[in-house]
């Protein structure tokens, strides 16, 4: 019975990923970040344009995160909930909520600060950021895969880690390497989410009003 309870709990977590909407939205958000970093990497060294791009990373990160959340909510309300039901997940409370805020804010701050630092110094050699980001994203995806028991997230974690490490050795440098990493991650998430979304639509037709 213990196993059954755990299975049911896991299925409830899986439901969030069942339609692929979250992956597609996250893919869109990361593509935006990738394009932004690419523009930053292409800006002339120590130019005003480059400086504004470096400073603009944190607002873009926060705004993009907000837009992603809104897009996920809207798509789920319009597509998922009428087909397979509405679920509201428990939000972290108290210390856990504060810790989550600090982690997200801290990550955005660190990435922004490192991007700004790299823009001003233009360090050469092995690019740490793509590999570091690859490992970090792989860890997050592995954690999600563990919680939800979804194999496709494990495959994504492996792909992302490999892409980050390869890009670190590519000689593209920190910013362009990181931009390419975000691009690869975004496309992978978008494809994985898109296929899942199409499968979901095919297997879950909208019930007619009489049967609700």
């Amino acid at each position: 019975m213990t196993t059954d309870i755990e299975k049911i709990e896991r299925r409830t977590v899986q439901y969030w990923f069942q339609d692929g909407v979250f992956e597609m939205a996250l893919g869109g958000f990361l593509l935006l970040l990738g394009l932004f970093l690419w523009a930053q990497g292409s800006a002339p060294p120590k130019s005003v344009w480059g400086f504004f791009l470096a400073v603009g990373f944190l607002p873009l990160f926060l705004l993009g995160g907000w837009a992603m959340k809104k897009a996920v909510r809207t798509l789920k309300q319009k597509i998922t909930y009428p087909r397979t039901g509405y679920v509201s997940y428990r939000k972290p409370e108290g210390k856990r909520r504060a810790a989550r805020g600090y982690i997200i804010g801290g990550m955005a701050g660190i990435v922004g600060a490192v991007a700004a630092l790299m823009f001003t110094s233009k360090s050469a050699g092995f690019a740490w950021m793509p590999a570091g980001s690859g490992v970090a994203f792989a860890l997050v995806l592995s954690l999600l895969a563990f919680r939800s028991n979804l194999i496709r997230l494990v495959a994504l974690a492996v792909l992302v880690a490999a892409a980050g490490i390869v890009l670190s050795f590519s000689g593209w440098g920190e910013l362009r390497g990181l931009a390419a990493f975000y691009g690869i991650l975004a496309v992978s998430l978008f494809l994985s989410g898109g296929i899942t979304f199409l499968r979901y639509l095919r297997s879950h037709r909208l019930p007619d009003e009489a049967s609700r």
Partner: protein, 102 residues
């Protein structure tokens, strides 16, 4: 009541019933869920699910809110604090009981 002094006779029968156990487990994992989701996940008919929800609601374990989304009726169910505590206690005691009998 400690796990040692607890016996299988003390089990919360309201939660122990298989269909209700599934409902309570789902609701414990989320903030709230609607009737359609619960019906799909439990595989129960509308009538059966309604009956089980009514029993849980009467015991104060589940709060049921009936609203409309446009013209479509929406029934949102959530576990109350009493329901959550009862489920935790049920799970703890059941796990201890299973361990003891293995």
């Amino acid at each position: 009541m400690s796990s040692d002094s607890w016996s299988v006779g003390d089990i919360d029968r309201l939660i122990h019933e298989p269909a209700r156990l599934i409902i309570v487990t789902i609701l414990n994992a989320v903030e709230s869920a609607d009737f359609l989701y619960l019906q799909r996940e439990t595989g129960l008919t509308k009538g059966n699910l309604s009956a089980h929800l009514s029993k849980l609601e009467e015991a104060g374990y589940v709060a049921v809110e009936k609203t409309y989304k446009g013209k479509i009726p929406l029934t949102i169910c959530r576990l109350t604090d009493i329901g959550r505590d009862s489920f935790r206690s049920y799970r703890k005691h059941w796990q201890a009981f299973v361990k003891k009998t293995q």
